[in-house]
Amino acid sequence: MELIREIWQGSGLYQLTPGQAVMIGVGLLLLYLAIVKKFEPLLLVTIGFGGILSNIPGVEIATGDGLLHLVYMVGIETGAFPLIIFMGVGAMTDFGPLLANPKTLFLGAAAQFGIFATLLGALGLTAAGVFDFSVREAAAIGIIGGADGPTAIYVAGLLAPDLLGAIAVAAYSYMALVPLIQPPIMKLLTTESERRIEMIQLREVSRTERILFPLLLLLLVALLLPSAAPLLGMFCFGNLMKECGVVDRLSDTTQNALINVVTIFLGLAVGSKLSAEQFLQSSTLGILLLGMVAFAIGTASGVLMAKLMNRLSATPINPLIGAAGVSAVPMAARVANRVGLEANPHNYLLMHAMGPNVAGVIGSAVAAGIMIMFTS
């Protein structure tokens, strides 16, 4: 009898709080979105599962000496995991389209407007008493608009670790929702004839240019914005390994075994921040809302910038590729391509949109560096 009581009191059912039950549901929802809807599955499967594990009552796995908590401390509190992922993303990134058309960097800049607008909005809503975010938290939330998972996790880990779970979930969810969120905004801000614009074919880019670009970017970051140096430094390092052609075995491992292993543990560790106490807050709702706004503003400002450039430029620029400036590589570029094809069945914008797309990665890392510099 004693024993049965002991077992019962040790059981999860006995200890489960309503909040934990809700969070297990949230974890299952993320898994559903990842597996059935194919929303950013690499991250949402791992975050979702980690979220479930961290809400199992009466077991130390996401807390204390538990594995997920240790992984969180080793990998995210130090910034190591997002930096390593960024190195891997660098090793997977092709700067060719950007080098063929460097002006697209402006689109990657414009799309970061969402980040700063949201920062201001979050501070404004705090002043208005709607939410209660500190400057650092507002900055971390704004970065969601960068549509770049590792950057968002890196900044949140530095500036607002308590919001990390919600910010990561928002960032990856909205990246997955790019095909739903962006097209209406893109269509609203462009005319049919603008969407039909065909762009001239990109020139070939030499291997030397590809090798020099990450070094150039690194030096510019080093000289002008050192606070962005960890993120962009690792990104450039990965890209240099890929392009230099003499360390292919390192580049291969970075793009495969290394980034995969880190993705698994990053996802689980982020999931370990989805505890009921931390996630079931009104702030989470605010983060989701503001993140969506950041995303929409970024898309809009990218498109508007492309419209402006199209007017000023000698060569035609299809405004749709401006939306790809939010990054969300390569989804946003594909969306630009698809919307372009709807208006003009012979208009393949994919390669043209890859320029702003990777420019958006640089842009949001730069924005992240600015946030870190001003708030820490």
Binding site: L105, F106, Q112, E204, V205, T208, E209, L220, L224, V366
Partner: protein
């Protein structure tokens, strides 16, 4: 916010100029095309990839536990 966006734009503008300058220099002093685009057919690439994959899988054994 203005300062933030301004810095982003200044930085990326400089990057545009630096990149354009670098590309111009490279194309001036190294005008020859890369020999990369020589005819490696997709089939060859596929076969090589498969061979590597084969090599790896070949040494794979089950892990018992």
């Amino acid at each position: 916010m203005l300062a933030g966006m301004g810095t982003v734009f200044v930085f990326l503008t400089l990057l545009v100029f630096a990149t354009s300058g670098m590309s111009a220099l490279v194309r001036r002093f190294e005008p020859v095309a890369d020999p990369e685009s020589a005819g490696v057919s997709e089939e060859e690439v596929a076969a090589i990839t498969a061979a590597i994959a084969l090599h790896r899988t070949r040494h794979r054994k089950k892990h018992s536990g």
